[in-house]
Symmetry: D2
Subunit: 357 residues, 4 copies
């Protein structure tokens, strides 16, 4: 046996030391030197900081019941302060956001409640969280009414959601995901809008007027890929997998098809509970994504295997403390989201053809 340490044994694990009054920043900094998912969360902050220091357009994907579960003001904060540049979300997260921005609430419940009793009182349960079905029905009507105010032409989800945020802001003046995106001119895509209560609300608009509620999800594909084609580099942050994870990766693949200069996202961070070995996209590894060109072979990346509600508050609280300068210096892409076509740094992105210039 050699006396010399192996090249593999260079950086020791530092046992986490307990201290009263530790800040979120200090806490997460100490976690960088432990193991397993704690370390991965520490690494996640550093990769996010690198995204902010780079020239990357940062996509955030949000699946699961994050808004109902108390994460919506974090997402709004990330949008407002441009920790991210584009949100891709399930409809549920936008709907539950709208619900609260409209002044309604989700409530603390328990997974062991009697669902027959809840059904009898018209209460909907999301694991340990509750909401009033009647209030949900009124949201649907509100969305239907809003939809009827729009022109009778197809809207990408990006344009539709901008208008929705605008209307919501004007009516409520409340902060939330949709209203923050409206005010910060940050685009939101919702590729599976038909699989959500937003979609149900739109369908109720059409029920009243057969010409209303035209949504152009194919336009979303083109617009999102054009965002990637035109940017020097891109980054992906995924919370929970689902359609947002794949849609962000798809933009990269589709863009690469049209432009040799696109080589996959340069940074990737995902917080997921799914695992790779069942073959689904939600749990798929970031290594696998490299085979597809979704991520660059040289990308910096980390997966945190854990619940977003457990990991995200600490991650963002720490990041908030250490990223002030990075945010101040950051040259985020400037969008005009208000029109039929998305404008990035003065360039209009078509929604009906792929285009480099």
């Amino acid at each position: 046996m050699s006396r010399r340490k192996s090249r593999f044994l260079r950086k020791p694990v530092e046992p986490f030391a307990v201290t009263a009054g530790l800040s979120a920043d200090e806490l997460l900094s100490r976690m960088e030197r432990i193991s397993f998912q704690g370390r991965n969360l520490g690494t996640a902050r550093r990769i996010w900081e690198k995204m902010l220091a780079s020239d990357a357009t940062i996509f955030l994907g949000t699946a699961g019941a994050l808004s109902a579960g108390g994460m919506r003001m974090i997402i709004a904060h990330l949008i407002e302060h441009r920790y991210i540049d584009c949100l891709v979300s399930t409809g549920a997260n936008l709907y539950h956001d709208l619900h609260e921005t409209r002044g309604r609430r989700h409530f603390i419940g328990s997974p062991t409640l009697d669902d027959a009793a809840l059904a009898a009182e018209r209460i909907d349960r999301v694991y340990d969280t509750l909401a009033s079905e009647d209030e949900f029905c009124r949201n649907d009507e509100w969305i239907a009414a809003f939809t009827l105010k729009l022109e009778r032409r197809p809207y990408t989800t990006r344009e539709y959601l901008y208008k929705l945020g605008e209307y919501l802001w004007k009516e409520t003046s409340h902060q939330g995901i949709l209203t923050a995106a409206y005010r910060a001119n940050v685009p939101i895509f919702c590729p599976a809008i038909a699989d959500s209560s937003i979609g149900m609300g739109i369908s109720q608009g059409r029920h009243r007027d057969a010409t209303a509620g035209q949504i152009d999800v194919i336009g979303d594909i083109i617009e999102s890929a054009n965002m990637v084609i035109r940017r020097p580099s891109t980054a992906t942050i995924v919370l929970g997998g689902g359609t947002p994870k794949n849609f962000i990766n798809q933009a990269s693949v589709q863009a690469e098809f049209y432009s040799d200069k696109v080589t996959g996202h340069k940074y990737a961070l995902q917080i997921v509970t799914d695992v790779p070995h069942f073959g689904g996209a939600s749990g798929s590894s970031l290594e696998e994504a490299q085979s597809w060109g979704k991520l660059s072979i040289e990308s910096e990346k980390v997966t945190v295997h854990g619940d977003v509600t457990l990991a995200l508050p600490l991650l963002v609280s720490a990041l908030e403390t250490t990223s002030k300068d990075l945010l101040a210096k950051r040259k985020a892409p400037e969008f005009d989201v208000s029109g039929r076509l998305l404008v990035v740094n003065g360039h209009t992105l078509p929604d009906n053809r792929y285009s480099e210039a």
Copy 2:
């Protein structure tokens, strides 16, 4: 202590007995008397049989990478022999089906392959399964070319996919999910079509002609709910969660909103790997679904926690043996899927308004 047995202790677990030459039917029958997920799979067959014996319209939802993973001919079989009446799928499962129906293949790989080496050879990895990216690109072009043959008007995914299946059948005469659905006149919905390579192919059609590739996902919502509104009862089988699981449940919720007679799916069977405690829809319990009215309070239901590739071959092989009579006697709904509007048992379902009659 009483000598009398508790009311809870009535039906003993029967230890599984090993026998050579056991059939899939016998194997699964023995599993009904063991515990945990093995028992649940045994129960799943019995619930499926009850669906077939009832007046229910049976929805099947397929997420994950089932087609790439060797499950596509099972799904085609379920469609052809009317074990199910309506498929709700992710785009990926339809795309990978199209890939093989067009004569291409997926290949056996390993999760430990070097992804940089795969990327260099333009091979895409799905966990332990591989495919040629160049072949995928040619599929995309094929889909684009097909899309350009369609009229320049909005298509629901249901109508679009019927036409796609028809074209595929005429070109290949090969069995698969899309072609089986075309031939059996079984509707397919793909609520997140924008988040898939089918969507990418459509978008490439629009790239060539700005008026092509109009997809009406809101029409899907209305049509699927109208299917539920008009049927005496409904049932849901979910493989893997995702948008198909929610879309099938949403149809029930949306239908209930328009008709007092709708009270949630009467039978439910799901095979999922996600768990309830992170709050996401994929892993949500069937009990939780009852609070929403997605499932009837009296529904018969079972969740199998496991990988579909592990559970489905056994489940369907056993079912195939014992359901012959049930299938022969079954009065499945008769669809005409070929037109702009879906026809069920002679009644046309609108895609722009909710309607009971």
Copy 3:
């Protein structure tokens, strides 16, 4: 793009074809050509066959609630027919086996039962399975009484469990894990016997006589490593992880420490639900085990990620059909388990020193 197929794309996935009357063997054979955990289960059978065709001593580790869950007669079958040569188990699996061999039963329940009501009726729940606490108490007394019949000297768990199996057989003449091992002269180790109701029963023996109930778990370590040291090669089959998984690997590591000729298990098959990324031993990958020398670098190995009750009945039913000849030809090690020291093929293995000869 080259016309020639990549070296990676050689063996296509074969979509599973549904056929009535399929046997377990045919079913599992078809699963070898699909993907994900279904394929892994197919591979598992082939690796087990290779174990049987080789000169390996085959260890089986059983954790979880397999006996309560209906798996005990499978394990007894594997012992009786020498699919395996040595069992390493949690105490719970042996205790629940003893419970049924003594004529008591576990019962079919549900995970949603009211636990307060169960507690009031003295019924113990294991997920969806129930048992009478009073019957358990009488088992404990039975074990205590048996323990008091033994000599007042330390017993390895291997010797103790042999005597327990012998006594159980003489009293009941019923087949089960303990009685099958007794009759087939197959050793059982229970490294965590103190963490089980077997241990509780022994402790009640000591409660009556302070000199009773001496268990020598350190002797188990030495004896199990000596089994590995003396054999040409070894194999490991793990159901569920836990202490049995590690104990079998530890035997290999400890053996290697004493003999250069030992190079880790040559074959490895595990069916586990835990995952690697939380750092625990139950979910640890077989690759990781290679870094430790637990497994040979050249080992053939497969992990099936799934519930044992879902995977094992199919695996063993298929194997039963195809392994007849292999079992007939197999030269399994011959044990004499009855004495203080374990005898393998005529050689006595010490329990107080590591020894190659």
Copy 4:
């Protein structure tokens, strides 16, 4: 629809608000009002505080690779400051603690390292963490040498580990789990000591002297139950499941068998990654534990589904800030762990009979 809110909808979810400079205490306090596992972690702190404010003897169980993964100084801190009163651990956690207390380190690696290369350099991998096998071998020798210094009589693991901690402290004067327990007179049980490198080290002591290394794991069962029998109430904190989880519950069950006054643990907190639906003890629900009498029907309890390295640093950092007064006022049981028999508040607990007085 009634205007009055349902009784179920009383306490709203409060969206988490991002603030720079948040302390761990403030962070976790905000998480009490979100959903899913984040909320559960917030609740965990409050339950732990209730344990500290009560008259309960607090058991801590530690499984998984916590020490290698950077958690050992947290556990040492919990022991030193009497956040807990008794540790039940896997041998691995004590062994990796000893490794670092002896001045060796674990190292930061990656799960994608080449295990054949690691094996060639004699480096052992635990997911993303590495250690030198040669250093491990020297630990084994050190444990063997220590074991040979002990009397030639059976030791419970509790007594053995006290002596080990004492020796380690005298030799190194370094803080760690074993040395903290020695100095604070806190008992440690290791029910599966035979399944660990501690056990391997002891076995090497016996290899040198056949009369050395006698471990009395049955005495552990009796002693731990006697701890429960004599205490007004008990509480359980479980990190990771495994044998420690069950051993702590078993003490409660065994104690209840001997004393009507024992009614199960009064408080329970577990952080686990396993799930209930596969039937294993590690993932079993706290509700299920109530059916067995392991937990009191009235117990306050919470399960956090997540990785300990992700959850524990935040939990303990927050608790450290808010529990100063509780710790100061707490009347923890006073142990004398140094002798053959454990002494609690002046009363000697037998290790060979169950005893209330």
